[in-house]
């Protein structure tokens, strides 16, 4: 069978499984819809958390990003796993003990304030929609490249599937589809990695393979990669090029942001006991680590293979993946020295994202209209998001592996989108309607509103997919920075301090929010030209500023609390209850 037929087969089969699970696990009550009846086994919840967490960005983009960043890419690896230690030790067990439905619910009750609840809902909706936009781009890329359907059709199909199991099954439906999606995505990630590791180093374990010697020489893969990258004018692969303080802050912002993300936290509300919540965080981390320790190996293999397979090749004899990705506009070649051969080195080949002419060039390439950068010799533009998808083709693996990766990418994007949609819908139906504006509605009505808001949220997410906002890449810094600067401190202090009161929490959240948002908006949207390390505060990039925002939040919250009156007795009793052994 052709790659495309195989892809249809794998994607179709996986979708059929998701729909089957959705029908089997319909939600009957708000308890089912919000927290899956609190009856999810810790291992199943671990898998669901892993799928919920690992998005299109983790599956499709991360290895590509690290392939180009080298050691600097470690911030994602440590940041997106280390946050689970914080989650397990500081938040998950206590929030499970609290035993309610949503993250704003905890903030509203602990700080006895409906204003605090509303601020939390606002932050939650902003963070979650930011994130969904990225998932939709992932769905679009997979559909357009492998199934050759229009991106819009792809998004509509994806939305239809999510609509089906999220609206019907709520958290219950989402949980069990996420378990299936985890299996699909991890299998799809590991199979090509293992193949490539064997081909390049003879070692079937990618985590060890990228520290081994190459099959055809006694040289270590990473040493070869260091040498090749330096020869081509790039930074040495295993050396940092960012400053230590910036790497420190980015890693910290990602860690504390991870621990503060509502769609991850809420997963721990679904297990039966507090002990299960702790255990479940451990399982989740194992399932996540399986992908996260494989990713840097994939990055090193991909960077090596990429250079090997195109460097100094005539365009006419370039590999087919190069031309396929060029067709959909994610690779471009500008023959600057007019010799018909591909020259790949450091620097941007052309100015800006490539814009293509309808005509073909002398070697048969798509003509790029952008003006070339003559201060370097590089002739190739490669979108980093394609590395994971293109990797099996670059390594010349069989067609079924390529098809598998497409199904895995969709599983990663859809599972995360569904988790995000659920926290959006439950914060609207539960926190805004039931707890704030329409306290008289019955449970049946609340469930109905939960379904309606899920449907509306899906429609909006679909629009983001069809008309992708230009700022998707920039707003990732936003989601983590804001989660770190708003949620983490108030959740942490809500449990570990009895003195923190309403005034302190609200002031802290607002200061964290305003400081972080202003800094990011200033450098990422208003004065993009100034976005260089000389202009940054203490040379911390907008990606890492959430960490400083978090510290400010802590300081302000403590100062304001100590100047105002302590929380009422029933709140102190609640904190005491959360801390008590079960």
């Amino acid at each position: 069978m052709e790659v495309q037929e195989l892809t249809y087969l794998f994607v179709g089969l996986s979708f059929a499984v998701y729909i089957g699970i959705a029908i089997w696990s319909r939600a009957e009550s708000t308890n089912d819809f919000y927290v899956a009846g609190k009856g999810v086994h810790p291992v199943a919840n671990g898998m669901a958390t892993a799928a919920d967490w690992m998005s299109a960005a983790s599956f499709l983009s991360m290895a590509g990003l690290i392939a180009f960043l080298g050691k600097d890419g470690s911030v994602y690896l440590m940041g997106w796993t280390g946050g689970y230690v914080l989650l397990a030790l500081f938040l998950a067990p206590y929030l499970r003990k609290f035993g309610k439905f949503t993250v704003p619910d905890f903030i509203g009750e602990r700080y006895y304030s409906s204003f605090a609840r509303k601020v939390a809902v606002l932050c939650l909706i902003f963070i979650s929609f930011t994130y969904i936009a990225g998932q939709m781009r992932g769905v679009g890329i997979v559909f357009s490249r492998f199934l050759e359907v229009d991106i819009n059709t792809g998004v509509v199909i994806g939305m239809g599937i999510v609509f089906f199991y999220a609206v019907l099954g709520g958290m219950k439906g989402i949980t069990y589809t996420q378990v299936a999606q985890y299996c699909v995505l991890i299998f799809a990630y590991l199979v090509p990695a293992i193949f490539i590791s064997i081909l390049m180093t003879g070692n079937p374990v990618p985590q060890l393979g990228f520290g081994s010697t190459l099959v055809d020489s006694p040289v270590y893969l990473l040493d070869k990669l260091d040498q090749v990258t330096v020869d081509l004018g790039f930074d040495e692969y295993t050396q940092n090029s960012k400053s230590v303080i910036d790497i420190f802050c980015i890693t910290a912002a990602l860690m504390f942001g991870t621990a503060g993300l509502p769609h991850v936290i809420v997963r721990f509300f679904t297990v039966p006991t507090v002990a299960d919540a702790r255990k479940s965080a451990g399982y989740a981390l194992i399932f996540i680590a399986l992908l996260y320790t494989t990713a840097p190996a994939v990055s090193a293999f991909a960077r090596m293979n990429l250079i090997d397979s195109i460097q100094d090749k005539e365009y006419s004899s370039a590999p087919s993946w190069f031309k396929n990705w060029e067709e959909i506009g994610l690779i471009a070649w500008k023959d600057k020295n007019l010799d018909g051969a591909i020259r790949y080195s450091s620097g941007d080949a052309v100015k800006g994202r490539p814009v293509y002419d309808t005509e073909r060039g002398p070697s048969g390439e798509r003509i790029v209209l952008n003006s070339p950068n003559f201060d370097n010799e590089n002739e190739v533009y490669i979108d980093r998001d394609i590395i994971v998808l293109a990797n099996p083709e670059i390594a010349e693996l069989p067609g079924w592996v390529i098809a598998l990766v497409a199904a895995g990418g969709l599983a990663a994007a859809l599972s995360t989108a569904a988790g995000l949609l659920l926290v959006i819908s439950s914060s609207i139906s539960h926190d805004l309607l039931k707890k704030t504006y329409m306290p008289k509605i019955t449970e049946r009505q609340e469930l109905f509103f939960a379904r309606v808001s899920a449907a509306v949220a899906i429609a909006i997410a679909g629009l983001f997919g069809i008309y992708p906002p230009a700022f998707v890449a920039q707003v990732v810094a936003f989601a983590f920075g804001l989660a770190a600067a708003t949620f983490f401190p108030v959740l942490f202090m809500g449990i570990f301090s009895k003195r923190l009161n309403k005034e302190g929490a609200i002031a802290g959240m607002l200061v964290g929010l305003i400081f972080t948002a202003t800094y990011i908006i200033f450098f990422k949207f208003l004065y993009v030209d100034l976005n260089t390390s000389e202009n940054w505060l203490m040379s911390i990039s907008p990606e890492g500023i959430g960490f400083i925002g978090m510290i400010l939040n802590f300081v302000v919250a403590v100062l304001v609390s100590s100047a105002t009156k302590p929380p009422p007795q029933e709140v102190l009793d609640m904190v005491e209850m959360i801390r008590k052994p079960e």
């Binding site: 050691k71 470690s74 280390g82 890693t251 702790r278 052994p581």
Partner: protein, 89 residues
């Protein structure tokens, strides 16, 4: 009632001690070995890996898993101990 309060207090103190120690290791293996001392550690090698690079891209993640399971184990032990004390009272 007073007894219960004392018990809860000492449980909470034991909990904080466990968590603080684990946080020290958490900081050391990620921010310490993976970032601050990473370049210094790079002069040592494990197979094809420079040590600092290995901590940043592999080692820290393995240690995170160990830390969470050590936490699970210690907390379960603590819970059992306090459940027994409660029975006695």
């Amino acid at each position: 009632m007073n007894k219960e309060l004392d018990r809860n207090k000492s449980y909470w103190r034991a909990n904080l001690k466990i968590v603080s120690w684990l946080m020290v290791f958490w900081f050391l293996c990620s921010f310490g070995f993976g970032i601050i001392f990473s370049d210094t550690l790079d002069q040592y090698r494990v197979g094809g890996f420079k040590l600092g690079f290995w901590f940043a891209q592999q080692g820290s993640i393995y240690i995170f898993i160990v830390l969470v399971f050590v936490y699970v184990h210690l907390m379960n032990k603590l819970d059992r101990k306090y459940a027994k004390i409660e029975e006695k009272d």
